[in-house]
């Protein structure tokens, strides 16, 4: 690259691609698809940042990472500086660098986006996090002196982990309750190894343990203890139980063997390690798989089926390509790997023999008027029904919060959609001392939004523990 003439910065419009495993290779293995930047690529990409006087990227970040700051340090070759800047705002940078939808957040508002070349902020974040971990540069943040206050965090996903970590930093004692046998929530049971290696999640959780958090697994709040019982034992409770109740379509044949939720499919493969040779937990080995839906979960399920040996994997989505909600990178990766996208297609029934799925009946759709969120709604094309042979259907059409806590805490205010009503800025619910955040409040969203909510709640919990003041919350929904 040519040296910029002194005093004037040449704008480099070549966004550096991230090396990845070749598609025909990776579609047969579970190791990570994206290989991450090399030091050279990362430095080049970091130097593309204009270090704007009025940076907009930070506004696009739900946890307000000092993006120009860490990139500036990286560009100077100061990895230690870059990681500590990153971690001031985000304790899970290795996770976020991999799973955030940057193209809708920080990179969407980068001043270079209009020239079609926004800085690859996510890839740089990932590089800094991985390189720092490799060089053992990551140390648990130093907790403040103990306040003697005890907080229970319910759920160990992105919201709970972020909240716990901030509380520990502020000097509070934290106990995290997890229903499953391993902490991490969706980062462990949901997102596959090839997109988010589990050792990275475990590394982050080990840090939170090292900061003094107690993590109690196999404990189902709502069953092993009610929320009120927990509240009586702690000074405050944060509920970050996510959106774990899978939706089904309610169409004929849905109870056939071979139709399952994405949660079940991915949990068998990820948490119970069914992808490993010799694992005890079974997982269906289909010839043709159809995944219904086109979000990140659908991409994960489809690419998992391919890796487990399916000959053909379809994504069946009732809208068109423009409405696909998944991260751009996941869609591109899925296409490269040979996933077949059936757009404007709606399953209307499943057929089977002896209780086992054999076909999916689909109906073609066309796009009609935009709905309240501005997405164009699909309209059925009558008479366009067709059958496709298939032996696994994975339903990835969304999830709502698990009702166990709601059902056993009658005083807790919830919405008609089953979400907990909590104040957007503080996470305060209608019960004093009880906070909530993440998907359990918003409905299914992203890892980073849940982390943002966990962070806001931690600040608000700290405030409540210090002042004892509980503002009345106008519940929504």
């Amino acid at each position: 690259m040519a040296e910029p003439p002194s005093g004037k910065k040449v704008i480099d419009l070549v966004r550096r691609p991230m090396p990845a495993q070749p598609a025909d290779e990776r579609s047969h293995n579970f190791t990570e698809v994206a290989l991450g930047y090399t030091l050279e690529l990362a430095s080049e990409e970091a130097r593309r940042c204009l270090d704007c006087k009025m940076p907009r990227c930070m506004d696009g970040c739900p946890v307000n990472v000092d993006i120009p700051g860490f990139i500036r340090e990286l560009a100077k070759g100061d990895l230690r500086g870059a990681i500590s800047t990153l971690r001031e705002h985000n304790l899970l940078p290795a996770v976020c660098g991999r799973v955030c939808p940057q193209e809708n957040q920080c990179e969407a508002v980068c001043n270079l986006v209009k020239r079609g070349a926004s800085v690859a902020i996510g890839r740089l974040e990932r590089f800094v996090a991985d390189a720092a971990a490799m060089d053992n540069m990551i140390e648990p943040p130093q907790p403040s002196p103990s306040t003697g206050k005890r907080v229970a965090v319910v759920g160990s996903g992105p919201a709970g982990l972020t909240c716990a970590c901030d509380l520990l930093r502020l000097g509070h004692q934290v106990t995290i309750y997890e229903a499953l046998h391993e902490p991490g929530g969706v980062l462990i049971y949901g997102i596959p190894e090839f997109r988010l290696p589990k050792h990275i999640v475990r590394r982050e959780i080990d840090q939170i343990r090292a900061m003094g958090a107690e993590i109690v697994c196999d404990f189902v709040v709502g069953q092993s203890a009610t929320l009120s019982e927990l509240r009586a034992q702690f000074d405050a409770v944060f509920v970050g139980t996510g959106a774990g109740l899978p939706w089904f379509m309610g169409i004929p044949g849905e109870n056939l063997v071979g139709v399952m939720s994405a949660n079940e499919y991915l949990t068998r493969v990820n948490l119970l390690k069914a992808y490993q040779t010799g694992a005890a937990t079974p997982v269906p080995k289909p010839r043709v798989a159809a995944v219904v839906g086109a979000g990140n979960v659908a991409m994960d399920a489809a690419r998992t089926a391919l890796r487990l040996g399916a000959k053909q994997v379809h994504i069946v989505y009732r809208r068109s390509r423009d409405e696909v909600p998944a991260r751009l990178e996941e869609v591109e990766h899925a296409e490269e790997e040979g996933i077949i996208f059936d757009f404007l297609t709606l399953p209307v029934a499943f057929g089977g023999e002896n209780g086992r799925l054999t076909t999916i009946t689909c109906q073609k759709q066309q796009l009609g008027e935009p709905d309240e969120r501005g997405r164009r709604s699909p309209v059925p094309i009558e008479g366009s029904e067709y059958d496709m042979p298939c032996d696994l259907v994975v339903m990835a059409i969304g999830q709502s919060p698990n009702p166990l806590i709601k059902n056993t805490t009658p005083d807790l205010q919830t919405s008609r959609r089953g979400t907990i009503s909590a104040d957007d800025k503080t996470g305060r619910t209608n019960l004093p001392g009880v906070f909530a955040g993440g998907d359990v409040v918003t409905g299914q969203a992203t890892v980073i939004l849940a982390m943002g909510a966990g962070r806001k709640a931690a600040a608000s919990i700290d405030d409540w523990l210090r002042t004892g003041e509980w503002a009345i919350v106008e519940a929504e929904g």
């Binding site: 229903a179 499953l180 046998h181 109690v216 697994c217 196999d218 404990f219 189902v220 069953q223 092993s224 203890a225 774990g244 109740l245 899978p246 089904f248 309610g250 849905e254 109870n255 056939l256 063997v257 071979g258 399952m260 939720s261 949660n263 079940e264 949990t267 068998r268 119970l272 390690k273 069914a274 490993q276 040779t277 010799g278 694992a279 005890a280 937990t281 079974p282 997982v283 080995k285 002896n354 209780g355 086992r356 698990n402 009702p403 166990l404």
Partner: protein, 290 residues
């Protein structure tokens, strides 16, 4: 880690497993279940609760050695530990005064019925237990049931103990003799429960069954346990495990229970005598109860 207070074979293929798990023992009620794993690589296995001791912090289950997962479980030793014990799960039995309660159980169900029978007796109901086994040497816990029930009938297929026949036959005879139970429970293999359901339909009985479906998490997350009751989709883990036996779609349920049978058999062939999996091809599982 949770201590194995006792793992003992009661009768061939039926084992009692008592685990020290105060977080479950504190809250568990009759009719609920737990999920456990026998080792770090193991599957998550749902088991009905057959007894509990809040003071000692222990919970007891009776399980049938039926598939790869329960074969491993059956090789655990008293004094050892298991990595996962989660619960209590599912809804507790509704125990209200209802006159006479008939409880019919076979296989692991003889154990699972025990705390339910005890609770009904404590609620002042007249308790009649019908225990079913193929033969005399597969019967267990008869004395335990006798200690809490008003009447206990034993039924064996070969007539080597009690009367010859099934629990179904005994219930039919009791009904023919004029018995009008306020509530009937059936817990055991799907055949026992579905035939009780047929009888309940004919004789207009209030029947409760406890479903043991394929499940992963036990908290409503996977939907693997979904079944149809009264035409409504239900999750056995959180809406159950108890359902109105007459409302259950038994055919659909049986198909779902067979889902992983081929993979299960493949795994069983790979288990060595100590219950370890010989690593070869990826493996399978199915429902644990017969």
């Amino acid at each position: 880690m949770y201590e194995i207070v006792e793992r003992r074979q009661l009768v061939p293929d039926h084992h009692v497993l008592t685990i020290h798990a105060p977080h479950v023992a504190n809250k568990v009620q009759p009719g609920q279940f737990v999920i456990l794993r026998s080792d770090e690589e193991g599957e998550r296995i749902p088991l009905s609760v057959a007894d509990f001791d809040r003071e000692a912090g222990t919970v007891t289950s009776v399980f049938l050695e039926a598939g790869a997962a329960t074969m491993k479980l059956a090789r655990l030793e008293t004094g050892g530990t298991i990595p996962t014990y989660m619960g209590p799960l599912g809804k507790a039995s509704e125990v209200e005064p209802c006159g006479t309660v008939v409880l019919m159980g076979g296989c692991y169900g003889i154990g699972a019925l025990y705390p339910i029978a005890r609770a009904h007796r404590a609620a002042g109901n007249r308790v009649i237990s019908i225990l079913e086994a193929h033969t005399q040497w597969l019967l267990y816990w008869t004395e335990r049931h006798q200690a809490i029930a008003d009447e206990v009938y034993v039924m064996t297929s070969d007539g080597t103990a009690g009367e010859r026949g099934l629990s179904f036959d005994k219930l039919t005879a009791l009904l023919d003799g004029g018995l009008a139970p306020g509530l009937v429970y059936a817990i055991g293999c799907t055949f026992l429960m579905s035939s009780a359901a047929k009888l309940a339909e004919e004789r207009d009985l209030n029947l409760k069954v406890a479903l043991n479906t394929v499940m992963v998490d036990g908290t409503g997350m996977c939907g693997g346990c979904r079944c149809s009751a009264g035409g409504e989709p239900k999750f056995a883990c959180v809406d159950g495990p108890e359902f109105d036996g007459r409302a259950v779609d038994w055919e659909g349920l049986m198909a779902r229970r067979r889902a992983y049978r081929p993979q299960e058999l493949a795994t069983m062939r790979r288990l060595d005598s100590s219950g370890k999996l010989a690593s070869s091809k990826p493996a399978g599982k199915g429902p644990h109860h017969g």
